[in-house]
Every structure is written in C-alpha cells, then in structure tokens.
C-alpha cells in the first residue's frame, strides 16, 4: 500500500488524486466525527434548528460528508491497494464499510418510527357526575373481580365479570357483570352503546369494549385533524405540519403577552429561518426546515382513517399556525371588557412591581376559583356593592383565626377569635362548638371520598354539638366556597347541611393576605384599595387608582401597584402559561406543546376571525385535549393537534397486558402484550410482544414501548412501530468488516512472516548453493 495515492510517472487528475488521498479520507473522518459529536452532545444546537436526532443525521450536510467519504474510500481502495491475498483483509473491510453505508442509506432514507396505543377492554367504575375519569379500571375478562368496603357507598361493593361476548377481532363487545352492593346482588350486561349503570346512587359501572387500531402515529411528525360535530359519523381529516417547530417558543406577536410559571414574560425565538449578524439577516433556509407562520393545507386534506368521501363537508375557514409553545403548563385568565354581558362579572388586571421586577395578576370576583390566587399567602379580589360590604371586607380580624357564628333560631350572631382545641358555647342556644383544627390548604371532599373540586384554601374544622346530633363542619375561608358537613361515620355530605340552622364564617390569613377591594360606579364608594392582612389579623388599607400606579409601603418595602384594567362586566380570556425554562424536563418533545391557530372565514364569512390555542394530544382518535371551534357557518368543529397517522395495513386489538413484578410490587421487570393481529382480508391471529422480543406485522416491527409500570390494572399498552429496510446489507457489511479486520490483524502478519522466512531461506540457499554450471565452466 502506498500513501496518498501517489503513483510515479503518471499525471493523475487532481480530483482523482484528492479522492485517493488517505489524508483527505482521515480529514473526512474527522469532520464526520466532529459533526456527529456536536449535534449529538450539544442538544441546544439541534433545538435551535428544530431537528430531532434522526433529522439531524438525515441532514444534507451529513449526507454529503458520508458521500465524500464513500467516494474517497472507493477511489483509494481501487487505486492504492493491490488486489492480492495479502491485502484481502483491508479490501474486505473497505467493501464491508461501503455495503454497510449503502444498507444504512436504504434504512434511514424511508425510516418511519411511531407507536400505536392499544386499549384493553375494561370495566370502569366512575362517578355518576363524571363518567370520563374512571376511579377504577378492571380488565374485562371472565373471573376478574374487585371489592371494596365503605360506609359512604352503602357497605361492601363487589363486582365480577362472569361472561363476555364479541367478534373475532374485538373479543369483548359486551360483558355480564355480577354486582353485589351490601346484601343485594344482581347481574348486569354492559355494552359500549349503553350509558353507565348506576350503583348505589353515587357510582356507576361502564364498559370500554375491545377496540381495533388500524393506524399508528409518527414519533415526531405533527398533523392537524378536524371533523364536524354536526354529523354523527363524521371522520377525521388531517393536514401534515412538516414545518412546525418542536423545541423552542416561536410565535408572532399576539394580543396578550405570554408568561412563564414564574411570571416572567416569554420572548419568542426566531420566527423565520435567518440569523441576525451585524445588522444583516443571514438566511439559513438551506439548513433548517421549520417556518413560522405555518399555513395549514386544509384545502387538500388527507383522510388518514377513512377513504376520501365526496360528501365530506369542507372546513369553512382557513387555518394558519402563528405560534408554537413547547411546554405549556396551563392557561391563565386575563380580564377584558365584555360590553354585551347582561350580568356584572367584575374582573381586574393588576401589576405589582418592586425594584427587582414585576408580576401580573387577573382576578374575577364572582368566580370562587378565579377570585383568589392559589398560594399560602394569596391575593384576593372582592367586589363590594355598598359601604357596609366594604367595611366588612376591609376591617381587621379579631385574631389570626376569626369565626362568625349565626344561628337562625333563636337568632344569634357572634364573632370571636378562636384557637385550636377551644370549646365555645353559643349563648342562648344549645350549640356547643369545638375547634378541631385549621388547615391552610383544604380541598372540599366528595361523597366517595375523592376531591369534590380542585380549589384549595384555608379552612377551619369545627365540631358542632346541637344537643341532638354531633357532626363536623369544614368551613372554608374563601368567599363563595360552601361549608361541608361530615356525619358521625365520617362520610362527607356533598350537598346541603346536616343542620342548616347554624351557619359559620371563617376568616384567616395564616401567612398574610392581600385583598383588592373595589365596587361599582364612581366616587369613594367605588374606589379600589389594597388591603394587607397580617397573620395577626390586623388590616392595613392602601388606596389605589385605576390606570395609575400607586406606591404602597408594606412591611417597609415599597410596592408599586398598577390597576391595568378594572371591569364590572368582564370576560375571561385564556392565555397560555409556559413552564419556566429552569423547571423543564428534557424529553417528551411535543407532549405538552400547544399551537396558536388563526382561523379566518372564507367567502361570505371572510370577516370572521378567531384566535385559539390548541393543546397537543398524543393520539388523534383518542384526543384528550381537542379544541372546539364554532365555525362561521353555524357548525361546530373539533380540531385536534396531534401526530401524523400511518396505516398499519391491518388491525391490532389488545387481548391483555401481563406484567411481572419485583419483590414489593413497586417496579416491573417484564411486560408482555398479547393481541390479535389481522391483515387486510385475513383472519385474526394471536400474537404477542414482550420485553426484548419484537413481532413483525405487515412489514412493521412491533415492540413493547410503554405500559403501566406500577399497578396491575391492564388498562393499555403502547407498541412501538417501525420499518427496517436495508437490514441485510447492513448485516453483511458488519460481518465483512469484522472478518476483514481479523484477517488484516491476525492473518496478514502470518502471511508476511512466512513470505519473509521463505525469502530469507531462499537468500540463505542462494548463498550456500554452488555457482551455476555455466559460471563454473567459465571459471
């Protein structure tokens, strides 16, 4: 082998000489090394150009480097290496490498990866008033049973699946369940079509039947789906969103600023593929594929789950995506004027500022959930209609915990400071109150023992003894949240009081409370003010002005308070709140993302405009966060932002998920999904995947991707799906490289040594041998 492809005596094309150069090959190796190291290890770089690991290695720059390397390898092999047995090793290695790269090209060129969600047939125990959030799920398989005992639901509840029926692919379409509640037992047949069957008045049982999945969704590629709600059999249409960003906030200016969970205003990253440099904008469209805004091709939709239907209604508006947020934690209300409202709905937008920064709040006095911030030391908005209400709202409390007791018959009212353990005899009545404790963050309880709401706040727990009955009353401090009683068995009463003759009011600010008080109209009676309640109960009043900034001194600290808007009739607009960057977890990609949709009516509805945020749903057909749009033509639409669907070429239906637990049942060490697989026109066949075992279905490789990890309720399984073309060339290439390396390192030296020994022996013989006959004759 000669280095650098130099060959004496001939003039070689400079290009050929370049591609024959080992130095050039090593440089290309170095560039490949540098490229792959940087894009793999420096994730922010990939995020900046909105590319996944797979995308960045399909980039034309990487492809170019690999192509140049292959060319160099080929030319150098042909020109610089002698084709003989000695060099068989290196020739094999180089050939194997080229075959491996060829196979890899085929593999990654059409690579599709995604997953399919398979739901197991199950019995769902739900609350009557909330059938969409199951309290419990049980695999709908004959013999499965569940039991609990609670006085709140009427004793022992047990149900057992005694029969199921269905079709070959969908094995459970109906289930017969034996239900026992207390001493009563009955058999009920549940089907998917029928509503939930009530049990004991509070709970209900419903069936989620077997379902077959005919599509899987792409791992990364996004799509927008829509269907109308006005046609019962309306199917989802979709449009791909190949230019949608994935990692960074990118949005065009909007009506309201977007803030993070710490309250800071969030700025958009670049919204066009260009980099500003020294006052110039350098276009980078060659390097990155994302764009903003993204025009959604609703005019030429795909029918991922159905064949095109000539009668399908056309979407009556155009859709443009003008914003993308990767990690949305929720939506914050923002108050704006609502002139068309009939009833007062007071709202305020207020800003608190100090030397170190500011923070904005929007509160709505008439909505208990929106009138106060969720915090140990909350901010509250109180709307007062007259001077008496104002006085009640701003006066100091009797102590850290203040209780007002009102008895209707005989009429008694008493306000006093209370402490834990204190017993109070209400004068002139048989009522004796015992303060059992105070809870700074209490969540109202429901009948079945679960939470009845999602708003927490301070509450006092008072045991009331009326002389006839003894019960406990939870008295929330938050205005508008009703008190709740629990009977002597400990069951909470979801509605109504055990004894309506006595009412309690509790006020407390255990860690301080700021209250904004304002009223209708103009003048002193309407003037807004900020009242600071100390933990001791003492109140400090501070006047505020609408539209202006007022300086307030609190505990020696200056606080600038600005009422940016105060509306007697307000409307609630929801603005997304993004997760603060320092609190974000890596991974999950689009899972918590949202897109801002600008909807513009067409034709006669061209004046119609809407702006709405749509959260991501993992699976389009089982969308958990769809967006409802009331269109300009009077029809309602469901819009789903999800992942692109690919047909499986058949259908899969989950039979069951099995798990094997480690000691203690806190972690799983093995999963297995059994399912029925049916190709188009074929019969269903039983198949399975489990940890470290795949199954090939219709050219797609299925594997166990995700499943419940710590409870045996068998609710669902997620199978990873992918294609794998070019595997065999890759395998052949790898084998050749291995064999060639072994030959080059361990066989070639033996050949060289044997050749050297032979040469030495020959030389030795030539030294020791007598001179040729002709020479002897000459001599």
């Amino acid at each position: 082998m000669s280095s650098d492809g130099r060959s004496a005596g001939t003039r070689v094309n400079p290009l050929i000489r370049l591609f024959s150069s080992i130095t050039f090959g090593v440089i290309l190796l170095g560039l490949i090394f540098a490229y792959s190291s940087v894009v793999s290890a420096v994730a922010p770089l990939r995020y900046a150009i909105e590319m996944t690991e797979m995308h960045v290695f399909q980039h034309w720059i990487f492809a170019l480097l690999v192509a140049l390397f292959c060319t160099t390898l080929s030319v150098a092999t042909l020109r610089c290496i002698r084709w003989n047995v000695t060099n068989l090793g290196v020739l094999t290695v180089h050939s194997g490498l080229l075959i491996l790269i060829g196979g890899s090209t085929a593999y990654f060129w059409g690579k599709i990866e995604g997953d399919v969600l398979l739901l197991a047939p199950s019995l769902q125990l739900v609350r009557v008033d909330d059938p969409h959030n199951p309290l419990l799920e049980l695999h709908a398989e004959v013999g499965q049973s569940w039991q609990t005992s609670s006085p709140a639901i009427g004793g022992t509840l047990r149900f057992e699946v005694i029969a199921t029926s269905g079709e070959p692919l969908r094995k459970v379409r109906a289930a017969t369940v034996r239900i026992r509640l207390g001493e009563q037992e009955r058999d009920v047949t549940l089907t998917a079509a029928q509503p939930a069957t009530p049990i004991g008045g509070i709970l209900a049982l419903q069936l989620r039947p077997s379902e077959a999945a005919s599509h899987f969704v792409d791992r990364d590629a996004a799509a927008l789906y829509w269907r109308t709600l006005d046609e019962p059999d309306s199917r989802l249409r979709s449009a791909q969103l190949p230019q949608l960003p994935m990692y960074l906030e990118r949005f065009l200016p909007g009506k309201h600023p977007i803030r993070d969970t710490i309250g800071r205003e969030v700025a958009s990253h670049r919204t066009e593929p260009a980099v500003p440099l020294l006052g110039f904008s350098i276009p980078t469209g060659m390097l990155e594929t994302w764009r903003m805004p993204v025009e959604v091709a609703t005019g030429s939709p795909e029918w991922p789950f159905d064949r095109p239907d000539a009668g399908a209604p056309e979407l009556p508006f155009d859709v443009t995506i003008t914003g993308y947020l990767p990690v949305v934690r929720g939506f914050a209300p923002r108050a704006s004027a609502n002139p068309s409202a009939q009833e007062p709905f007071p709202g305020v937008n207020i800003r608190f500022a100090t030397e170190t920064g500011h923070r904005d709040f929007s509160l709505f006095a008439a909505d208990p959930a929106l009138s106060v911030t969720e915090s140990d030391s909350p901010l509250e908005f109180v709307w007062v209609r007259n001077e008496a209400e104002r006085e009640a709202a701003v006066r100091s409390r009797a102590g850290p915990h203040e209780l007002t007791v009102r008895v209707a018959n005989p009429p008694v009212e008493q306000t006093l400071a209370v402490v834990e353990g204190q017993t109070v005899q209400v004068e002139g009545t048989p009522y004796e109150l015992t303060i059992r404790g105070f809870e700074p963050r209490w969540l109202p309880m429901g009948a079945a023992g679960g939470a009845a709401g999602s708003t927490t706040g301070p509450a006092a727990f008072v045991q009331i003894n009326s002389g006839i009955r003894r019960f406990t009353r939870a008295v929330p401090a938050r205005p508008g949240v009703p008190a709740q009683d629990s009977d002597d068995r400990g069951a909470w009463q979801p509605q109504g009081m055990i004894d309506a003759n006595i009412t309690l009011e509790y006020r407390s600010s255990p860690a301080g409370l700021l209250r904004i008080v304002a009223g209708p109209g103009e003048g002193a009676a309407a003037a807004p003010e900020l009242v600071a309640f100390m933990p001791s109960g003492r109140a400090q009043r501070n006047p505020l002005t609408v539209g202006g900034t007022s300086a307030v001194l609190l505990a020696g600290e200056r606080l600038d308070v600005t009422i940016e808007g105060l509306f007697e009739r307000a409307m609630v607009e929801r603005v997304p709140v993004v997760e603060a960057p320092e609190r974000r977890r890596v991974g999950g990609e689009r899972a918590l993302s949202a897109v801002r949709l600008e909807l513009a009516g067409r034709g006669e509805h061209s004046q119609w405009r809407r702006t709405q945020w749509c959260m991501f749903s993992d699976y389009p057909q089982d969308a958990v966060r769809p967006l409802r749009v009331d269109g300009p033509d009077g029809r309602s639409w469901v819009v789903v932002y999800s992942r692109r669907a690919h047909p499986l070429g058949g259908a899969l239906s989950l039979d069951k998920l099995s798990v094997r637990f480690r000691p203690g049942r806190t972690s799983v060490d093995w999963w297995r999904s059994d399912y029925l697989a049916q190709t188009e026109g074929g019969d269903p066949v039983a198949a399975h995947v489990h940890t470290n075992q795949t199954h090939v279905f219709n050219g797609w490789t299925l594997f166990q991707a995700s499943a419940p990890g710590n409870e045996p309720h068998f609710r669902f399984t997620v199978l990873g799906v992918g294609n794998r073309r070019g595997i065999w060339p890759m395998t052949v290439g790898c084998v050749l490289i291995t064999l060639g390396s072994l030959y080059a390192f361990y066989v070639k030296p033996l050949l060289l040594r044997r050749r050297r020994d032979l040469a030495l022996a020959e030389a030795q013989r030539s030294i020791e041998a007598p001179p040729p006959r002709a020479l002897q004759e000459v001599r």
Binding site: I22, L29, F33, S36, S37, S40, A41, E53, M54, V56, F57, V90, Y107, E113, I262, G263, F352, T354, T356, H358, R359, S375, D376, S377, L379, G512, L513, L514, A532, M534, P535, R538, A555, G556, E557, P581, E582, R584, R585, V586, P663, G664, S667, D669, W670, W671, T691, N692, T701, F703, G720, V721, R724, I727, C734, S741, L742, F745, P749, R753
Partner: protein, 714 residues
C-alpha cells in the same frame, strides 16, 4: 430574589414584621448518640438479627445491608456516629423524631448544600455549606421541597438531587422503609410490612393502653387494616422490641431480637424467604467494602512493575506479577460474590461495569505480558486496575455502588455478551491510553525534557489556579442573579464564562517563565477547552479536574526530572532503558512476531534512528492492544445494534450512546490510517489513543449521566 415569586416575598416580609421578636436562633447540634444508647448498642448481639431479610427497592437484602445502605444515604457513612449499622437502623426506626433538630443528614454535593441552605440564617448557612450537615426539619421546609422539584428538572443535577431525595426519604419515612415482616399470604412478590404496620395486629387491649384510636392508627401506619397472617404475638414482639430499645434495656432487646429473628422466616410463605447463604454473602460483601480496597495492591503492583521495567531486575518483575495476581484474586472475589448475591452477571450499572471490565482487562493484559514478555503490559494493567477501583472506592457515590436491581430491558442474554464485550473494550481503551501516556513520557523525556518539565509544571499551575479560583467563581455565581439552573438552560452564559477562563489560562504561559511557551500554551488551551466543558457540569467536576491537574502535573514533572537525572548520570540511555523483559527464561513469542495493526510498522518513522529500541517496543505494545480494541469495539457495538433491533425494533436510532460508540471507533479507524501519512507515527498514535480514551470516557460517563437518551440507565 428572582427565584421567589415577588408576592410571596412581600408576604413573607409581612409575616416577619408580624412575628414576635425573639432571641437569635442558636445553631442546631450535630447528631450525638448518648452514652446509654452507645452502651446498649454495644451490648446487643446483632448476629442473627443482622441476617434477617428486608424487602427494599425491589429486592431482598440482609438487615445489616439495609442498615448500611440507608444510613449511607442519610449520613454518608455506614452508621450513625458512635453506633453500629443495625443499632443505627433501630434507633432511626424507633426514635428518628428525637433527632428532628439535629444535624444528621449529610449532603455531599456542594451545589446541593448551597441550594438548600439559601434560606437559613447567615451563620447556620455557612455551617451547612461547610460541613454539609442538615437537620431533618430543615429539609422538610417548603423552600427546600420546592427547590428539589426545580432542580430535578435539570439533567446534570439529576444524580445529585436523587441522592438528596434518598436522604430525605430515609430521614422522614424510615419506619415505613424497614419492611422486615414477610407477607404470609399471596404471591412471592407481594409487599412485606414494616414493624409500624404491625400495630394493627396488636391485641385490642394493648392498642387501648397505647391510647391510639383507629384514625390515629391509620395515620401512623398509612394503612387501614391488620397485616394478614401476622399473629398478635409476633406483632407484640416488635412492640416489645421498640419498648425495650427505648428503655435502653439490653437484655430485653436481645431477647426480642432473638424471637423476631427466629419468627420472621417462619411467617413467610413457603419458598418466599431468601436463603440464609445469600444474606450472609451480602453481609460479607458489604463488610469487605465491596472489595474496592484492592486498589492498594494494584498501586503497589504498578510501582514495583515500573521499577522492574526500568531496571530490568528480575525480582521486582516477579513481585509485580505476584501482586497483580493477588489483586486479581481479591477483585474476582468481589465480582463473584456480587454475581452470586444478585443472581446475574454484574455489569448492569456503571460501578459493576467498571469493576468487571477492569478485572477482565487486567487478566487480559497479564496474559499479553506473559505471551510477549514485556513489563509495560504489567504496569499498564496495574494502573488500569488501580484507577478502576479508586473510582469505585472514592469517586462513585455509595448509593450507586450498592447492590440493586437493573432495568427490566437489561434482563437478556445480550447483557452477558454485548455489555461484557463493550465494557471490556472500554477498559482496553484505557489500558492503551496508559501505554500511550508512557510512550509520550518517554518520547518527550528523550526529545525535549525541558519542555516536558514545563508542560508538567504548566498543567500543575493550571490545576492550582483552578483549585484556588473555584470557590471564588462558585461564590460569585451563587450570589449572582443568574442561578446555576438558569446557566444550565442558557449555556451561552456558561460558555462565555468558560471562554474567559480559557483566555486567563492561556495568559499564564505568556508570563514566559519557561523557555518553551509554545508547548505550555498548548496545554493552557487544552485546559481552556476543559474548563469550557466543565462550565456546564457540576461544581465537583471543576474541583476534581483541578486536583487531577495538580497531581498529574506534579507527577509528570517529578518523573521527568528523575528520568532526566538518570539519563545524565548514567549517560547511557539505551543501556539503562533497554528493552525490558518481564520474566525470566526469555520470550516465548517475540514482540516483533506478534500480529500488527494495519498501517506502517513501528520503527520506520521519521527520526527512528534517534529513538531507542525500548520506545519502539512501547509502540509495539500499544499496537497489540489497539488491534484488540478495534475489533472488540466494532463487534461490541454491532452486538448492541442487534440487541436494540429485537428490543426497540430498530438497530440504530442515533441515540447519543450509539453516536459516541461510533465516534470512539472512528478514532481508532483514524489511528490506523494516520500511521500511513505522518512521520512520528508512535507519537501520533499515542496522542490519538489518548483522544480515543477521552471519547470513550465521555461516552461512558457524560453520555450516561448528563445527556438524555435511551441509554441513560447504563
């Protein structure tokens, strides 16, 4: 300030104003076991009790192991100060509330100390940052809990936060963790129960005596009924044990321990209690410090081997081999015991992989040394074993070295094939790097001893600067409005800071204290790049890098000076440093007959005649190992792709681990081809071998722990 919502700050200020003014808070005391407790612990026979089984973290372990592990999480040591591990476990299970205000929870990571001490009074904060000891009550505060939630989101902080969470769990929930009462009914994997849960099984009159109603019982035990199959007598044994322990009654404690140790295995369902031999082996394993202390023997072997290599004396060579054999045997015992206890090959996490790979590598190098009769292999093998075990003993957190379960997906035959081969190849990469470093040392000793000394001094000075500057930088960063977490999310700030550091380091050689600033400058740039990387890694890495630079630079300098002195005194380089033979009786296989790597042969490079034979031999040794690495790395990576194909449905997905496995191999492919085109082949090979080792280390450690990917468990 920006870290806390402003409204909260204001209201906290309000609360402070309203709060009664009291005397300045005194500093909490450190944990101190009283004399009665120490005497009690000393009077207890823990033999049988320590061998009882506990169900914890998905496996069964001996109670003594459980105590050592959990106390390690809590205090950083195997036991509470002054107590035995088992005594510590019982004291913490029965009396942890008494220590709520004592400094007992040890946080190793400086960043964690600073983050969680931020709201403490000034004096107390300084104390906590200095000794790392917190009270359980301090860690219970809302500020700390919120901060833990925030820090968990940061990938590079994940390991440190995970250790804090372990400590918090032990501090606050220990009575629930001690699951030593077997499930009498149900399946083998059903959860066991803690002694506290056994309160439900006490006779009603006993419960009445305790004055505990049902609600209190539910709150205390976090369950709503008795343990199935547990007799009231067995429950009473635990209650009596607690009472006797609290009364410091050694005789009663011994009596109850004896009863409990006898009864618990009998309670368990048939075949559900782990065998006593396994529990005993586990106890031995922990008492022997997981056999990581073998680094001492490896160190001795390396020193003696170096003497043998330089002097060619026979005795040191024999002693070096014997020491290596002793170390290997000790090392193998640790691997074997771990394998027996866990019931699987111990290569499933970083500790196990490092431990096992080093052993295989040392064994392989010993065989190579035997075949080729060259002491350099012995020295490199001993250094490899030394570094692996010193990492295991001192650098890896104890929690990551404990016996534990592995990810479900790892339970496959490929764990024995792919993982073993790939970690072996990684260990060989390190071995090759040691040989490369030896070559570089020799090369520069001969070619440019002054520059070599200068390089060593520069490295040491850079390390010293980093060492002294680190606390100041850290303090500055912590007190700046840009928090460490924000720097993580906005790495531009960190990169800028690191670039500044690189400039500063580069400025050191410009002082022209030495004669060859070009080389010193090279090293400074290298360190600048190092600090650039370190800017986004935890503080501990910064300090670790500085220490390594100080010690490494000093060692290099001293060794070069000694070498140069020897050269000048003896004035016969080739005579003194002639090819060394590791054993007597001559070589069975000539070094020059061994398989070669592709590329030009050693000894024919530029200026070959001016280099002694021993240096060429080092290059030969290096190439022998590089041959093995090239094949093993490739085959190991391809086996990983095969595993990924039947596990994740695709052989290759450009996961960071896969990318850097490819990159590591690319470095060795480059070495082969670089030898065709460069003049100083041995020199280039040695440098590139060090680069390959750095890429391997990056792939093994940084990718596993700081870059999110499918291999984050490894």
């Amino acid at each position: 300030m920006t870290r806390m919502p402003m409204l909260t700050v204001l209201l906290v200020a309000l609360a402070v104003v309203a709060a009664p003014r009291g005397a300045a808070q005194s500093l909490p005391p450190a944990f101190q076991a009283d004399d009665a407790l120490i005497a009690l612990d000393g009077a207890i026979d823990w033999t049988a009790f320590g061998l009882m089984a506990v169900q914890d973290q998905g496996r069964y372990k001996s109670l003594e192991s459980f105590a050592r592990e959990t106390m390690g999480m809590l205090t950083g040591r195997a036991a509470l100060p002054g107590l035995s591990p088992c005594g510590s476990a019982l004291e913490w299970a029965f009396n942890s509330a008494a220590y709520e205000q004592q400094r007992v929870v040890y946080l190793k990571d400086a960043v964690m100390r600073r983050e969680f001490a931020i709201d403490l009074p000034k004096e107390r904060r300084a104390q906590a940052e200095r000794d790392g000891l917190f009270t359980p009550a301090e860690l219970r505060s809302a500020t700390v809990q919120n901060r833990i939630g925030e820090l968990r989101a940061i990938t590079r902080m994940a390991s440190a936060v995970s250790r804090v969470l372990d400590a918090v769990q032990v501090a606050h929930f220990y009575p629930f963790m001690l699951q030593a009462i077997p499930a009498a009914e149900g399946a083998a994997e059903d959860a066991w129960h803690s002694p506290r849960a056994a309160l439900w099984n006490l006779p009603p009159e006993t419960v009445a005596e305790l004055g505990v109603d049902r609600a209190a019982l539910e709150r205390l035990t976090r369950r709503n009924g008795p343990i199935p199959g547990l007799s009231s007598e067995d429950a009473l044994a635990w209650a009596r044990l607690a009472a006797a322990w609290n009364a410091r009654d050694a005789a009663a404690v011994n009596a109850q321990l004896s009863v409990i140790a006898q009864r618990m295995p009998e309670i368990a369902g048939a075949g559900h209690y782990p065998p006593a031999a396994q529990l005993g082996a586990e106890r031995v394993y922990y008492r022997m410090n997981k056999f990581a202390s073998g680094w001492i023997v490896y160190l001795l072997a390396a020193i003696v081997g170096a003497v043998a290599m330089v002097t060619r004396w026979k005795s040191p060579a024999v002693v070096s081999v014997l020491l290596l054999l002793v170390a290997l045997a000790w090392h193998a015992t640790g691997i074997g015991l771990r394998w027996y206890i866990l019931g699987r090959i111990p290569v499933a996490n970083m500790f196990e992989a490092t431990f096992a790979a080093a052993w295989m590598c040392v064994l392989g190098a010993l065989l190579l040394a035997w075949v080729y009769r060259h002491a350099a292999m012995l020295v490199a093998a001993a250094v490899t074993g030394f570094f692996a075990l010193i990492l295991a003993d001192f650098v890896m957190p104890a929690s990551s070295t404990n016996l534990g379960t592995m990810m479900a997906i790892l339970d496959d035959v490929m764990l024995r094939i792919h993982t073993t081969l790939i970690v072996l190849s990684y260990a060989m990469v390190f071995l090759a790097a040691v040989l490369g470093a030896m070559y570089l040392f020799g090369f520069y000793l001969l070619r440019a001893p002054a520059a070599s000394v200068e390089a060593g001094v520069t490295i040491g000075v850079c390390g010293a600067v980093m060492w002294f500057v680190a606390p100041a930088v850290f303090t500055l960063a912590a007190s700046s409005p840009v928090t460490a977490a924000e720097m993580q999310k906005f790495p531009g700030v960190a990169y800028a800071a690191a670039a500044l550091a690189a400039l500063l380091f580069s400025a050191i050689p410009s002082l022209r204290l030495f004669r060859a600033p070009r080389i010193a400058c090279t090293f400074a740039v290298v360190f600048g790049a190092g600090s650039l990387t370190l800017a986004v890694l935890p503080y501990g890495y910064f300090v670790g890098w500085a220490k390594t630079a100080i010690y490494g630079g000093a060692a290099w300098t001293v060794a070069t000076l000694i070498g140069a002195a020897l050269l000048s005194i003896l004035a016969a380089r080739t005579a003194v440093l002639a090819p060394a033979s590791g054993g007597s009786g001559g070589a069975r296989v000539s070094l020059y007959d061994r398989p070669i790597m592709a590329g030009a042969l050693p000894g024919d490079e530029h200026g070959a005649a001016r280099l002694p034979r021993w240096l060429h031999e080092l290059d030969w040794c290096h190439l022998i190992v590089l041959n093995i690495i090239f094949v093993a790395l490739f085959v190991g990576t391809i086996l990983g792709a095969i595993w990924a194909d039947y596990s994740w449905g695709r052989p290759w997905g450009w996961d960071p681990k896969e990318v850097f496995a490819m990159n590591t191999w690319i470095v060795y492919a480059a070495i082969i081809h670089v030898r065709f085109v460069v003049r100083d082949r041995g020199l280039w090979t040695a440098w590139l071998s060090l680069v390959g080792c750095a890429v391997m280390a990056f792939n093994w450690y940084v990718v596993n722990t700081h870059i999110v990917g499918l291999h984050s468990y490894a």
